[in-house]
Symmetry: C2
Subunit: 532 residues, 2 copies
């Protein structure tokens, strides 16, 4: 029987302190629904005292009747005042949240330097604020800010702060490594001491400034803490908060604790990627457990081993966290990578054949030019299908022209495209919000009469990468385009010293891929059958 742990998500509050992270009330509602489905026990939504956006969020999310306890964040009352006159505490109790987290000082240095008040007044602020929130009918949690630094400097005072929180009836007393500088050994030692002397449920809140937030959280749990505060993808101020996407699977799959159900754990990868989409923050491919490269194999020797048994180079089964194994094609690739990639595609490939040699050489040559197929599976698949399956030309491009003009604040962008498809020449012009969008519009206008299904395809992401930083706007650029038809998603790549030409290449690949590979397009386009 595994020990249950309480998961407290603060992506919507502490997470938004991260550089480059900014969420609208609407974004926050979307994320809250995902977090609730993932099965976290508390969702800290924001600080209703600090901005109206958070007040709106609490108003809207109340109506959703989440399983998780909706939690509002605030500080202990101002010094030398009373709770009844504290505007922030008022906002907190009026937020409609079921629980409130109050952050208070437990490091004497901070009481003197930041608060600039007496140690006793700070203890009174903690006790009175928690009691006030509790009397309002909410559950009260205490975040002991800088607890570990405080304990190292003045253990008696740090513990006295916790005792006040306990006496005021805090449901959880959460030890915070606010500056992220504490080491796992110190965490175990201090938490073990706290759980002995403080007779209340203890939680842990760590930051990643020493790249130890996950290890510190695990150390605290092993030492007796039972409540974890963290964020999706480890978003948070400076170097971020403890990353729940790494903590949950380790606790549940390796340490025998129970946090969420096994089915909920399988949602982890999709939740992590959804949140990074909404937050509009690029997710590092190498993120543990949920990253796109977390179970990606590049070296030829590794690839041949995982093809015998994936346990040889994978610490868990990817599906347990909703991720999957990938084989990367790169200049380090042995034939085995190409082989297994082509097999994934159901192509009949003889690794020893002359053709396989040529394909590998071609891929190496393109990668040398700056193409990167690791992030563009669809372009690679077209390349392999053209090589092994026989080349098919759905259409050919004869020429295109773009005009962008700005006068008196007016901006006009037009594209003219001349293509040949099924023996006919088609000549179209379209406007767009930018040159690539105009090209995209003109090309669709030309193709839709032949391939109606193309209406469903749209571009979901567009990335430009300068390959040689010596002279950015004159340098070679790589364009990655992600496309979707609301069912599948695929990525294509183009490389050129001209961003328009690189975008054009990726655009053509994306459309060719949708015509070649995507069944929904083909169903709706009888013509395509003739040419495949």
């Amino acid at each position: 029987m595994s020990t249950p742990l309480c998961i407290f998500d603060t992506t919507l509050r502490d997470g938004t302190q991260g550089e480059g992270i900014s969420l609208t009330a609407e974004d926050k509602v979307k994320i809250a629904l995902k977090l609730d489905a993932l099965g976290v026990h508390y969702i800290e939504g924001g600080n209703p005292g600090s901005n109206s956006k958070d007040i709106e969020f609490f108003r809207r999310v109340r109506e959703l009747k989440l399983q998780a306890k909706l939690t509002a964040f605030g500080s202990t009352r101002r010094k030398n005042s009373i709770c009844e006159h504290d505007v922030n505490l008022k906002h907190l109790t009026e937020s409609g949240a079921q629980a409130a987290t109050l952050v208070g000082k437990s490091w004497d240095f901070h009481v003197h330097t930041a608060l600039q008040t007496t140690l006793d007044e700070n203890l009174a602020m903690i006790y009175e604020s928690l009691a006030y929130v509790k009397n309002s009918g909410m559950e009260a949690l205490f975040d002991a800010e800088h607890f570990f630094d405080g304990y190292k400097a003045n253990p008696e005072y740090a513990l006295a702060a916790l005792k006040k929180a306990k006496d005021a009836g805090a449901a959880w007393i959460v030890l915070c490594d606010t500056n992220g500088g504490t080491l796992p050994g110190e965490i175990s030692e201090i938490v073990s001491r706290v759980v002995k002397v403080i007779d209340a449920p203890i939680g842990i809140h760590t930051h990643n400034d020493s790249e130890l937030a996950v290890a510190n959280t695990l150390a605290a749990i092993t030492a007796g803490a039972r409540h974890i505060q963290g964020t999706i993808n480890g978003y948070g101020e400076r170097c971020g908060n403890a990353n729940l996407c790494s903590i949950l699977p380790t606790l549940q799959l390796k340490m025998g604790y129970s946090c969420v159900s096994d089915d909920q754990l399988k949602m982890l990868t999709s939740v992590a990627r959804y949140v990074s989409e909404i937050a509009n923050v690029h997710m590092p491919v190498n993120q543990p457990y949920v990253g796109n490269a977390a179970f990606a194999h590049k070296g030829g020797i590794h690839v041949s081993a995982i093809m015998k048994d994936s346990k040889t180079y994978e610490h868990i089964e990817p599906h347990l966290v909703g991720n999957k194994q990938r084989v990367l094609v790169s200049e380090l690739a042995g034939q085995s990578n190409i082989l297994s990639k082509a097999q994934e595609m159901g192509l009949d490939v003889n690794p020893e054949s002359m053709k396989s040699r040529q394909v590998i050489d071609r891929i190496k040559e393109l990668e040398h030019q700056g193409y990167q197929f690791e992030g563009a599976d669809a372009s690679l698949e077209l390349l392999l299908r053209d090589a092994y399956g026989g080349s098919v030309q759905e259409f050919t491009v004869d020429s295109f022209k773009i005009m962008v003009e700005k006068t008196a604040g007016q901006m006009v962008t037009e594209a003219i495209v001349k293509i040949s498809v099924a023996g006919e020449q088609v000549y179209t012009v379209a406007e767009g919000n930018g040159p690539v969008n105009a090209l995209d519009n003109a090309l669709r206008k030309a193709l839709v009469q032949f391939y109606p299904g193309i209406r469903d395809v749209h571009l979901s992401d567009y990335k430009v990468r300068v390959l040689d930083e010596k002279d950015a706007t004159a340098a070679k650029v790589r364009v990655l385009i992600e496309s979707t038809d609301f069912k599948d998603t695929w990525s294509t790549v183009g490389v050129s010293s001209n961003v328009i030409e690189a975008s054009w290449e990726a655009l053509i690949d994306s459309i060719r891929y949708s015509l070649r590979v995507n069944p929904r397009i083909m169903d709706s386009a009888p013509l395509i059958r003739l040419c495949t």
Copy 2:
């Protein structure tokens, strides 16, 4: 007297296994020089048996006479053969490196499944291969692949593999957590056992699949290991290797070990950023110690506290690792952020003034539109200088036009710009590798006669970010441009639904900033003095 540790950098070997990381021989030489300056003790340059690029690297780097020991990587000999016939071992001994790392199996499961040979043959492969390398006059190191998984499955056999390496005279026996699945507690327990029973210098090599590579390395050192294998920025296969940029400062500043000199530690941030530039991999802003946000403060309360004493929210002094404190302006910003930002710029700001209110509201409005000043200090500085220092128009743009045409494989891009400067209207046309480059060229052509110093300014990076993924090429985009005059570097931002217009905004800001703020430009442009 602090215990010295041996630092083994494998950025150039294991690091290049990371997704999206690919280094030319030239790149590797550049990085090797930086690593040597940083003071690492071993530089593992690659696998001369696997590709010719690495052979060239070893040939070129030999002549540089580095302080660090140049190390080549390879595997133990093939099964059922002799070292004298092993091509990879031959390449290794001919590489000209001073040391060689041989990876061998220590997990019985791998011997059976991956090598498909007997346990005894694997032990012979380890002993004979290390002895062969040592007899060739090189120092021999042993990487015990999957040691921790192997020890958990069959401790006797895992230890037997290490004993063979010791008997063959390995200088270091390195315990590898190849799959990155081991927990810190297991690492301490197993390493403590190994240092008791194996009388040889022990090293640690961890991977980050559970986000524990740093913690696991620290645990191994505490348990008695004295040699650390890792990479700059934690590059490496799947989720990466142990990140030396986090391990070095923690060991040296917090745990009392000595790895490199204090002056060398101050190079850490610049080395980390240099390597990410050469590897052409974006460095996460929130990377511990060396990231751009590692000491960045966003929340208003935090900012007012660090202005009293930076120790309140910083775990170390940033300069110890060559990083610096930043104050971010964002919608969470209190006045204190703006205040300290403007003070950095030497502007005389009254936080209570009506003007300060308007500036803050303006910044919030722009951020709402998608501008992000966190990554565009120069655009923010222009905004603040215009507000507090009085607006100056170095030039105004009347109109521009861009034409891109592709016919028969030929690509032509032209830009026409009409601007007014110092009372004159200037009308220029220029070609470019792409629309933004053509605009850049036309604009310089128009301005250089008035501001000759502008010749030194060039764009060093160009990033395009889609702000709303609903429809990529039609969505609002944010363009970030980084510029340099070979002395200073500055970043500017533009936002529009048209990538050309957004690029244009950022381009104009970059040039205005160089004219307004950059002394070298102003020296060479007497005219500018008239208008500032």
